[in-house]
Symmetry: C2
Subunit: 226 residues, 2 copies
């Protein structure tokens, strides 16, 4: 299957288009569907019985929000999620996503401990990331390079350059990547299991940015492409 | 499987709880998941190839909003939806849901014509309904009683009393019912195919209202209970 890998600029433009007055989407809607995509990718790859404990590492921005939504869905799918979310956003939506997780008694942990998990969801940085990984995430990302626990990265493996990837092998390489809307350039060199999620791109938008949207199966929110 | 059938008052209280500050959900989120549930129930029951044309009849309130979301997902699932939405809400969310459908070139039709459809989604009235069905929906509901095209009702078959159902057989009986969150009392006498959707009820809320939440399969947003 031929995929189109997009630049950081195009990823930002697609997001802006979707949430513009002409696109009509709210962040609530898109984040709900993105987080559900991630949870479904986990469910399809790592059965609940064998991998009950999921640690979701959430960054301060939208990628972290996708992680919070995924945590809620994973709870409903029968997993035992826990959330590491050290830099909590004061934005109303994020506070509500935290409330929703609190109401499910999903624990928010002070330290990300890969050893106590059967799967790790990396929802730290997304397509807006650039520059260096700073504390407290620097240590987490280092731990993720050491661990043998399977990692599912949301959109971008945290630490990777959105376009160049990780040419010097400085960071961890996830077992599974869930690209949202369309894969970014960094995913070109990715050799692991690869899902595309975010089944909401209008054909006109796909045409405008020359995206190749793969055929999703049935009513699923994700499609495995590799 | 034993289900708990709820009153109109309990349905309203659950909705209020979910969207209260303590519940943390936005209408955008809940409507997105409700509409996706409906689309998945359609997808599981009426394969795209055999039933491509779906007419979604939308009422003026939340039930209609669920229908608009379902229409969008059905488009992405490969169906050819068209929407009958004669009393359009001026609320921002509803206008955006219409925009999202317009961007997919889903036609908004002026007349609901069952004959030109392979499936009909009844998203006219939900659990807030009481009293008489008025124009323009009176005629539509009458047409739905005549047609042989399969009907999928969202939460409540339109015209039915939320608690008493349709004891005098005045209205249509849908082939498929998608109860959202929990089935309402009217569904007790329903003999057709029955799905529960809305996989977002926290166990604490289920306990508070003594709901019996069935076990959903895998990553699905609906579960068939009959």
């Amino acid at each position: 299957m031929s995929l189109k890998f997009i630049t950081q600029k195009v990823a930002q433009a697609i997001d802006e288009d979707l949430m513009s007055a002409a696109g009509g989407f709210s962040v609530d809607q898109l984040m709900e569907l993105a987080g559900l995509s991630v949870a479904q990718a986990v469910q399809k790859t790592y059965p609940t019985q064998k991998h009950p404990r999921v640690l979701i590492c959430c960054g301060p921005g939208n990628n972290g929000g996708d992680g919070l939504v995924a945590a809620r869905h994973l709870f409903h799918f029968g997993y035992k999620p826990s959330i590491y979310y050290p830099k909590q956003s004061k934005n109303d939506l994020y506070k509500r996503l935290v409330t929703q997780c609190n109401n499910l008694n999903i624990p928010f942990v002070e330290k990300a401990s890969p050893k106590e998990s059967d799967i790790i969801v990396d929802a730290i940085f997304g397509f807006s990331f650039s520059g260096d990984v700073r504390d407290p995430f620097k240590e987490v990302v280092r731990d993720l390079k050491e661990t043998h626990v399977p990692i599912v990265a949301v959109d971008i493996p945290s630490g990777w350059d959105v376009e160049k990837g990780d040419p010097e092998n400085q960071f961890f390489s996830p077992d599974t990547l869930v690209s949202l809307t369309a894969p970014k350039l960094c995913a070109q060199a990715f050799k692991g299991r690869h899902f595309i999620g975010g089944r909401f791109v209008p054909p006109s938008l796909a045409e405008k940015f020359d995206l190749k949207i793969p055929k999703y199966p049935e009513g699923d929110q994700v499609v495995q492409v590799q």
